[in-house]
Symmetry: C2
Subunit: 336 residues, 2 copies
Amino acid sequence: MKLEDIAKKAKVSRSTASRVINNDRYVSADARQRVLKVIEQEQFEPNPAARTLVTRRSNIIGVAIPQTANVFFGDNSYYPMLLQGIAEAVNKSDHAMLLWLAESHEVRDVFAKRVVRHRQPDGLILTSVVDRDPLFEYMVKHNRSFVMVETPPAYADRVSYVTIDNVGAAAEATRHLIQIGRKRIAHITGQLTIQDGIDRLKGFRQTVAEAGLLYEELIKPGMFAAEFGYRLMQELIPLRPDAVFCGGDTAAIGAIRAIHEAGLRVPDDIAVVGFDDLDVATKITPALTTIRHRVMDIGSTAARLLIDLLDGRLEHPHHFVMPTELVIRGSTGGQG
Amino acid sequence: MKLEDIAKKAKVSRSTASRVINNDRYVSADARQRVLKVIEQEQFEPNPAARTLVTRRSNIIGVAIPQTANVFFGDNSYYPMLLQGIAEAVNKSDHAMLLWLAESHEVRDVFAKRVVRHRQPDGLILTSVVDRDPLFEYMVKHNRSFVMVETPPAYADRVSYVTIDNVGAAAEATRHLIQIGRKRIAHITGQLTIQDGIDRLKGFRQTVAEAGLLYEELIKPGMFAAEFGYRLMQELIPLRPDAVFCGGDTAAIGAIRAIHEAGLRVPDDIAVVGFDDLDVATKITPALTTIRHRVMDIGSTAARLLIDLLDGRLEHPHHFVMPTELVIRGSTGGQG
DNA sequence: TTGTACGCGTTATCAC
DNA sequence: GTGATAACGCGTACAA
């Protein structure tokens, strides 16, 4: 069944049938009626390839996730939530989502090449972009449409992105630790090749510095994974911190395990704050004080942004800063 | 840059250029050389839409995940692992993956319609198919290419799928509980609208029946989610079971929580066995005895199967049964 | 308001 | 081996 057949059955030309489908104004009510009826009874859907060929739009947006080990699966629900958010926006605007996942330990170059080569999607949502990321560099250089879900590591002024105020949120978390009277506050950072990690460190450092509590030896460069939290906390314990702010919840979980194994108590001996408010934050004992941000909203905002950009409804570059919120729980002496 | 331009630069006709790209035998070494060189220096990629239009193949496979709440994200890494497996197979055969996620509480009908309407993918991978699933019914009825990652709820003889031996694995888990001397073995089932849940119940029931230990009141219909494990275990405790086999690890986690809250010990008072060997299985205390199956392998096998089916390399219908393994841990008195 | 005719970038089918 | 040329199914400028 093709458009031609629909037109024939509705006794109009193919052009008119096409106009009906594309909501063109210049169609008589009568003709429109007839065409719609035939479309309905034939369950007709236009061939997307033919359509793409002429309109140069596939209505597909791509999502690239370049690092999956320990992040995509494992104890971290960040990407699933992000995808869920993207899916909602994508559905709403009648698009589809093409998903690119890096293989377990694929080098970024190979992954980038694969994503770039396929030219199906109209635009891309980029996640976990690192400094000198080949995929990112390529997209910028070739002027291809994309948005990011974090602050970009470079070219921030000519890239569109959705992010949260990492510096501010980290500062808020740190202030909270200061307010409950902690004096030796450690920081296990997130990945410092990703802007999120860098900004959180910045917010932390500023805040402790202002309070006269900056101790460089209490800052440990880590990653968004439980093992790092665990191992780095073990290194920190001999330095006698009374609080630790972790760049991510999973790292915080690892840190708490290390603290408990050392025979210390949370929060009495060491208070712990995480970041992200993942599901696990409430599943451990004590429940984790953390920074909440709605990952799903970030995803749907990013998708909407990309589509608006593609449709010319929004100017490029465009930035969104999504709100965060400090959630106080047992790990810093709150309830739960 | 289109094929025409490449041909011109290489001083051949468009046909010959096309032949080179599609590895046609009838091209002189000389011509091939020239074309390849131009393609290389121009970084040329054929327009996928044009190609799809004529070949009727998009080299895209779709993945439909109709239930996301409490499953896609949350404490369950099943889908992410599945996607990762699919991605690997899809990459290897130079395809792409289109992901369809249901909205939070979207009814199956709406979701099915959305997935079916878009005709981009050549075939679909269906997950979490329930009895009378509209998407499933549609695919079967309209003879569209798809494979499932569980045993289908119907038409098993004319549907291609990848699954595990749920009956056998559940029997093995149950036998293990019997072997360690348990007499009152309960079962919190998985979702009984999904074949996996039904088959696991079947394996359980057969095994306890053979041992003369079947007590219907100890069988609780549940779902693959922690809340269900928790609540149903609370109902079970007054019935004094000395073991419980849960249809999924997350339910088992909930069950353990209920047991602990009742002041009982695992495994001393009640031994617990899960199913799936999710990440969380080793993250709780005591670590969970469970049935392991490589979800990633299921994903990649399913994708490979679908592509082989589409390419005519395999006959439809085709079934794969992937291996499982009982992993004994602390929750039934093993190590850890 | 409607229809004709052309073009989108490929692959497939022919002759040569 | 190679090169015209006809599809593939649709959108749209232009003419009517």
